[in-house]
Structures are given as C-alpha cells and as structure tokens.
Symmetry: C2
Subunit: 203 residues, 2 copies
C-alpha cells in the first residue's frame, strides 16, 4: 500500500478510541489532533470550544439565526447557512490543510471522509461491547442520573446522524475504514499495537 502519513481514528463513545489514538500518536512520535482541532476551529471562527465540540456531533437543525443572539461570531459568511454547515466547511478546510502539512493522527470529526481522496491515510474505527463501554464511561466521567447505556446510545446516535448527514455514509460500516477493531475484545494497548503495525509507520 502507499506509505501511510495520516491515521484517522473514528470511534464509538466509551470505546477508548480516543485513548488508542493518543497512544498511537505518542508511540509513533506524531502530533495528535483532537482537542487541538477544536481549538483551531475556534480560532478561525470565533466560536467557543465547548460549543464547537457539541455542535460537531449534532446534525443540523436550527438555523444560524436561532443561535446568533448569544454568540460572538465575526466570520459567518452567509446568514442563510446553518451553524453546523458553517462549522463543517471550516472543519473540512482545517483537516484538509493539516493532512497536507505533516504526518499526524486525527481523532473524530469525519476525517476519514474528508480525506478520502488521499491514498496516504489509514482509517480506523474503534468499537466495543456495551458492558465494557458502560464500565469505562462511569470510571472516567462518573455517574449521572441517566444510565450509562442510555448516555452511550444517545451520544453514538448523534454521531451517526451527523456522519450520515455530512458524508452520506453509514457510520461504523466496515467498508468506510481500512480497519475496525473491538477494543473490548482486544484491549486498548493491543489495538494501538495492531494499528501501528498495520499502518506501516513504525520506524
């Protein structure tokens, strides 16, 4: 295969995909774009980082005008464009530029789709069984008054709808990725090892 320069990691909420992506980046000595990506979108648009994180997982509904009253936003180019569509175009541009710039790991944000024209990407999807994910989110984020199963299902449903809306593809379908791994079965460290080896980026 063509020499891999970029690894994209998509993941179910609670699957440890984020941790796996960080591990892969660290072990390969690559920059990892996750929060960093949100920061760049924030700088470019003037939107709050938390807000970008939230909107980045919701399919468009409300128009820009519905949001406009509480938010500083100096750069929305077209009042008819929904907030989500606007953020999508910025995200698209930033991810495309990042991929040009340097080898890296990109977590989430439909990077697998945005970079699909390149042959130097290795696209990974991480998922896991419900019990392992539930145990993980309670351990990491604590209990809430919603059951962990419900939190997991709702978050992933949003990701699915968002992905479908902007890519036209089914989130989690094997065919969208070069490799999909069950982190509950394989373990977090083993997933990182498998990805590193398969990517061919190990020195």
């Amino acid at each position: 295969m063509a020499q891999t320069r970029i690894i994209t990691i998509s993941r179910e909420f609670g699957s440890g995909g984020h941790t796996i992506g960080k591990m892969v980046a660290e072990q390969l000595g690559l920059p990892c774009y996750d929060k960093e990506l949100v920061k760049q979108i924030s700088t470019e648009t003037g939107f709050d980082e938390d807000y970008i994180e939230e909107v980045g997982e919701h399919a468009p509904g409300k128009s820009w005008l519905a949001y406009a009253f509480g938010i500083q936003n100096p750069t929305v180019p077209d009042r008819g464009m929904s907030m989500n569509d606007f953020l999508w175009t910025v995200q698209y541009k930033i991810i495309t530029e990042l991929a040009e710039k340097e080898p890296c790991v990109i977590i989430g944000r439909c990077a697998d789709y945005i970079l699909k024209g390149r042959d130097d990407c290795f696209d990974v999807f991480i998922h896991s069984d419900m019990a392992t994910k539930a145990e993980r989110i309670v351990r990491l984020y604590g209990e809430t008054n919603q059951s962990p199963e419900k939190r997991l299902t709702e978050k992933d449903k949003k990701r699915k709808v968002y992905y479908k809306h902007y890519t036209g593809r089914e989130w989690g379908m094997s065919q969208n990725y070069h490799m999909s791994l069950d982190s509950g079965k394989l373990g977090i460290e083993e997933c990182a090892r498998i990805i590193i080896e398969a990517s061919g980026m190990k020195k």
Copy 2:
C-alpha cells in the same frame, strides 16, 4: 480476552476473504470449514452441494413445495417450512457442533452470528475497494457477459439480505465483528498475519 478457539471469517465477494481464511487455518494448523461445511449440510439433508451453496446466499422466497418436485430430500421435517429455513436450521446445528468439537476456522455461513454466545470466537470481516475486487474476480473466475462490478454488487446484495433475514443484523457493520480489514489496502498476506497475531492462537 478469553483464549480464542474459533476464528470466523465473513467477507465481501472478491475480497480474498476466503483465501485469507485458508491461510490463517494453514498457518495455525487448524481445520478450515468452507466447502467442508457445505458437504456436511449435504450429507445431513440429501441436497446437492451446488444447490446448498446457492441457497445459502439467498433470502427465503419460494416455499419448500415450489422446490420439491426436482429434488430428492428425504429429511425435510415440515412441509410448511421454506427450503432456506430448513437449510438454515441444519447449518445452525452443524456450526454449533463444529465449534464444540475442535478449534477451527469457519468461512461464511453467518458463523459469527450463530456462535455469538461463545466467548472463544474471534470474528473477522474482510472487505475491499471495488477496483481490487473486480480485478480479482476476473483473474480468478474469468469474464462473463455481466460487468465484474455488477457481479460483485449482486452477490454481496444477496449476502446482505440473507444475513439480515436470519440474524436481524446489518452485514458488514463493524460492531458485528471483532476485527474488519480492507484487504485491498493491506494485502492478503498481511491480513492473514494481522488476524493470526490478534487472535492470540499463534504458538
């Protein structure tokens, strides 16, 4: 994870998943059930092997009676049961028994679903891009008057419908398997290597 005893391989037509399954079995010194499975279903039911192979990829339509005139079939237990449902029950029983008997590799036939209650299975899905699959089937099976793309799409559509009918799940969804690999990107030998390592069955 629990010690793996059984590897199931599901695959897109033309992805080389069958070859990968054979390689994995050979390198691990395990029996590989593919044609062998069809043979066993044939012995148990009295149906012709070619017929079983074909029906095994079609969702039920015709009833048993519609088939009955041309085929010797001493053991159909219930005249109201469709041919496909009957073959499914036999296949289900044979795969369940095989898994009890000895460590092995099972290719196709919804084994991932049939054995989902066991924790000693490692379920793999192999897919590939259209161009690589088209090149492969023309090289292996020759040209026909249908385009290779059409042959691929039709065969996989049947597998998808069959899988959905008997399992209620989406064929090719990452979450149904412990590992999904793009054999076009990774190569056939590399897929076999990755599966063997990840299964933990290497001696």
